[in-house]
C-alpha cells in the first residue's frame, strides 16, 4: 500500500514514484496487485499492465521477452486455475512452437541401461495414466514484495496456479529405460533455449527419490485438456510440492546420471541459504556448505475478494476467503483475524482435493463496530509449519510466505 506514511518516508523521489503509482492504479488497480503487502518496485507497477498473449485471457505482464505473465487474483476464487488464466514463466526467449506429431522424448543417460525415444502417442498408450491436483508456483512468486527489493522478475502474488495434471508416471518411464543403481539425479531439458549460444540452456535436475515418487509425472493434460503452448505443450514434468523451476516445460530429454548435474541453473541459480526455512525435503547431491537448491514450497495463503481500503457497511457480514497451499504435507488449518492479529478464528476449509492442491478457506464475520479493521489469514500445515509474520529475506527472493494484512473500514 502506498500509504501516506510510506510516501513521506520515501521523500521527493518517492513522491514522483507515487504519482506514477496513482496513475497506474487508475488504469488497472484491482486486477494487478494483491492488497495487504508492501509495494512492488515503482517500475514494476508502471509496466505491470493487463495484456493478452495468444490462447490466454488478459494476464498481468511482467516482461514481454522472454514472456512472464501473472494471473489476475480473481481467478483464485476457484480452487482450480483455468488453463487460459494460468501464469507464464520463461527464462530464455527462444521458444519454438512444438508440434504434437513431431515431438519426441529422449530417455536415457549414462545411468540408463536401455535408452529409448518416445512419441506422444507412445507416452499416452504405453504407460498407465495418473492424475494429481497440484499447485505450480514459481520459486520467486512474491519477489516484488521483498523489502529491501531484490533483482529478478518482480512478481506480485500470482505466479502460481492449481491444476489437475494427467500423464505418465516418471518412475514408469525410467523403469523402462533400465535405470542403474548408480543413478543419483534425473536431468531434464525442454525445447526452449537461449538466444545466444553462450547463454546456459535451461536444464534442471531432480534427485532420483523425487523422480520415482508416484506423484511425479510427465503430464500431457492439464484440467482435462492438452497443455497450453505457454505452459509446456505437448508435455511437461510435474513435481508436486516442489516449486515450478523443476516442472520442465516442452520436455524433450530425461537423463539418468551418476553424479550431480553442475549446469548454471542448478549450481548457481535457484538456491536458498541453508537452515533458514522450515522445509523438509533435501536435495543432498546439490547441497554446499552455504546453500542448497530450493525444494518444496513453504506453507502459504492468499485472501481473494477483499480490496485495500474497502468500505464495509456497518451490520453487513464480511466473508474472508481464499486459498491455502504448501509443499505436500497438506493444509491443516487456516486462521483468520480481522483485528490485525490479536484474535484468530479457525476458518472452514473447503473440499480436500489432495495434499498438493489449493485448499479453499472461508470465514464470515460481522464486524461489531465502525472503524478500521485489518484482515489477515494464516495457514498451517500438517508438518506443523505456519506462515511467517516477518519476511525471511534471501538474495534471490524466494519463499515469501508473510501473512497478508488488508486494511478495510467499517462505515
Amino acid at each position: 500500500m502506498a500509504t501516506r506514511r510510506r510516501v513521506l518516508q520515501l521523500g521527493a523521489a518517492g513522491a514522483v514514484a507515487a504519482a506514477g503509482i496513482a496513475w497506474w492504479r487508475g488504469a488497472a488497480a484491482k486486477d494487478v496487485i494483491a492488497p495487504g503487502f508492501a509495494d512492488l518496485p515503482a517500475g514494476a507497477m508502471a509496466t505491470g499492465e493487463l495484456e493478452t498473449i495468444p490462447g490466454k485471457v488478459p494476464l498481468i505482464k511482467r516482461t514481454w521477452r522472454p514472456p512472464n505473465y501473472e494471473t489476475p487474483i480473481e481467478y483464485f476464487a476457484e480452487e482450480f486455475t483455468p488453463n487460459r488464466a494460468f501464469f507464464v514463466r520463461y527464462h530464455l526467449a527462444n521458444i519454438p512452437e512444438v508440434s504434437a506429431a513431431s515431438w519426441s522424448l529422449n530417455v536415457g543417460g549414462p545411468s540408463a541401461a536401455s535408452p529409448f525415444t518416445l512419441s506422444l502417442d507412445q507416452l499416452k498408450r504405453d504407460f498407465p495414466a495418473a492424475e494429481v491436483a497440484a499447485v505450480c508456483q514459481c520459486s520467486g512468486n512474491r519477489r516484488g514484495l521483498f523489502q529491501p527489493h531484490v533483482t529478478g522478475v518482480e512478481w506480485g502474488v500470482a505466479a502460481m496456479g492449481n491444476a489437475r495434471w494427467k500423464g505418465a508416471r516418471l518412475k514408469d518411464v525410467l523403469a523402462k529405460a533400465g535405470m542403474k543403481p548408480d543413478a543419483v539425479e534425473i536431468v531434464l531439458d525442454g525445447a526452449d533455449g537461449p538466444v545466444m549460444p553462450a547463454t546456459p540452456d535451461f536444464v534442471k535436475s531432480i534427485p532420483v527419490w523425487k523422480a520415482i515418487d508416484e506423484n511425479t509425472l510427465i503430464a500431457y493434460e492439464m484440467n482435462g485438456e492438452p497443455l497450453p503452448h505457454w505452459n509446456g505443450f505437448p508435455a511437461r514434468i510435474v513435481v508436486p510440492g516442489w516449486t515450478g523451476t523443476y516442472w520442465m516445460k516442452h520436455v524433450t530429454s530425461i537423463q539418468a546420471v551418476p553424479k550431480a548435474y553442475d549446469g548454471f541453473w542448478m549450481k548457481s541459480a535457484y538456491r536458498i541459504p541453508k537452515g533458514r526455512f522450515p522445509v523438509i525435503d533435501r536435495f543432498l547431491t546439490q547441497e554446499t556448505d552455504a546453500n542448497t537448491p530450493i525444494t518444496e514450497m513453504v506453507v502459504n495463503s492468499l485472501i481473494v475478494g477483499i480490496s485495500a481500503g474497502q468500505k464495509i457497511p456497518m451490520g453487513q457480514p464480511l466473508t474472508v476467503k481464499g486459498v491455502a497451499w504448501d509443499g505436500g504435507s497438506g493444509i491443516s488449518r487456516v486462521d483468520v483475524s480481522t483485528d490485525g492479529g490479536r484474535d484468530w478464528t479457525e476458518a472452514t476449509l473447503g473440499p480436500d482435493r489432495g495434499r498438493y492442491s489449493f485448499r479453499s478457506f472461508s470465514l464470515t464475520v460481522t464486524p461489531p463496530a465502525r472503524g478500521a479493521l485489518t484482515v489477515m489469514s494464516r495457514a498451517s500445515n500438517r508438518a506443523g509449519a505456519a506462515q511467517t509474520f516477518e519476511l525471511i529475506h534471501n538474495p534471490a527472493g524466494y519463499h515469501h510466505n508473510v501473512v497478508q494484512r488488508i486494511a478495510v473500514e467499517v462505515v
Binding site: 515503482a42 508502471a46 512444438v98 515431438w103 522424448l105 527489493h149 525445447a191 516442452h250 524433450t252 548457481s268
Partner: protein, 98 residues
C-alpha cells in the same frame, strides 16, 4: 534444446516474434547518454522492460553487478566499454534515487 527432436512452427514463430517486438516499442525510455548502447546490446536477448521492472532500487554497484552477470553468467557479448556505458545509463536513469 535438442533441435532434432523439435519441429519449429517457423511461420507462427515469426509472426509471434513480430507482434512481441511491436509491443516492446511502446516503452518510452528516458533519453540520455548510453540509451542506444543499452537498447542495442540488452535488447538482443530480452525485452528492455526488465530494466524498468527492476527500478528504481539498484544503486550504481547494483546495476554494475547486473550488467556483469549478463556478461559473465549469461554470455552476453558486450564489450567492457559498452558495459560501462550501459551501467552509467541505467544508474543515471533507472537507479536508486540518492
Amino acid at each position: 534444446m535438442t533441435t532434432r527432436n523439435v519441429i519449429v512452427g517457423v511461420l507462427a514463430l515469426a509472426v509471434g516474434a513480430g507482434a512481441a517486438f511491436a509491443q516492446e516499442k511502446r516503452i518510452a525510455f528516458k533519453d540520455g547518454p548510453g540509451l542506444q548502447t543499452f537498447q542495442a546490446n540488452c535488447g538482443t536477448c530480452h525485452s528492455l522492460d526488465y530494466a524498468i521492472l527492476n527500478s528504481p532500487f539498484l544503486d550504481r554497484a547494483g546495476w554494475d553487478a547486473s550488467v556483469k552477470k549478463m556478461i559473465n553468467a549469461f554470455g552476453a557479448p558486450i564489450s567492457a566499454d559498452d558495459a560501462k556505458v550501459i551501467t552509467d545509463y541505467l544508474a543515471e536513469n533507472y537507479g536508486k534515487p540518492s
